[in-house]
């Protein structure tokens, strides 16, 4: 069982609230999404493991059991080409759960006309494998869901 932590502070709103069907329809996988607190903040690792992919706007951490969790910082933020994002770790690094990975500002993303909502997705998880999904206010590092 993997406990997945909230990567950012905000409100857990569920994947259905993500304004991108690739996430809201669960195409990437099950999980939830956080509507982040507006203002400068640090996105942290949702699990302990290795940073398999690190883009400014998204990252994947893979745990020792091979489970991978995707954190996507805002929607269509790939278009920002890294502007407004600062990497605090490097691809291939081992991180502990809760360790800062990227600093960013959801308010700036929103001001640019994009949704800052952050999908947190259990990659390759089967339906029903994600349980105890938090709703409402979460701090970065709080338990967000469980993955069995």
């Amino acid at each position: 069982m993997t406990t997945v932590l909230a990567p950012v502070e905000g409100a857990a709103v569920g994947l259905a609230a993500v304004p991108d069907p690739v996430f809201s329809a669960g195409m990437v996988g099950p999980g939830t999404a956080i509507d982040p607190l507006r203002g400068p903040g640090k996105a942290v690792a949702p699990i302990a493991g290795k940073i398999m992919k690190l883009h400014p706007h998204a990252y994947v951490i893979v745990g020792d059991d091979g489970k991978g969790v995707l954190v996507h910082l805002g929607i269509d933020t790939v278009q920002l080409k890294g502007k407004g994002f600062q990497l605090l770790a490097a691809e291939g690094d081992r991180v502990s759960a809760g360790q800062p990975v990227v600093s960013w500002d959801p308010a700036a993303v929103e001001a640019g006309g994009r949704s800052p909502v952050c999908p947190v997705v259990a990659l390759d998880a089967v339906a029903g494998a994600v349980t105890d999904v938090a709703r409402g206010a979460v701090h970065a590092g709080d338990e967000l869901f469980r993955w069995t």
């Binding site: 398999m52 992919k53 994947v60 790939v78 990659l123």
Partner: protein
């Protein structure tokens, strides 16, 4: 063994929407789907979004998709079409 080459056209590469669409289609196929870069390296499981993301195919890179068995040609056509859609 059926094989298709496809050059990834999406700006984001084989990530996000293209990756999710690719894997969802691959999951519906009864046979194993393998994906590799044409430049070499170990093929990955085409039904795993994690492995497809790890393969890290960028726009303009060419992949080789392989499948074997009844209906493989159709599945390969579909997957090659998804990969080469802008």
């Amino acid at each position: 063994m059926g094989e298709r080459k496809a050059t990834v056209a999406a700006e984001v590469g084989l990530h996000a929407r293209p990756a999710a669409t690719f894997v969802q289609t691959a999951m519906k196929a009864p046979m194993d789907i393998r994906v590799a870069k044409v430049t070499g390296g170990e093929p990955v499981n085409g039904k795993s979004i994690l492995q497809i993301m790890a393969l890290d195919v960028r726009q303009g890179e060419t992949i080789v998709i392989t499948a074997e068995g009844e209906g493989a040609e159709e599945v390969l056509d579909q997957l090659a079409s998804i990969a080469s859609t802008p």
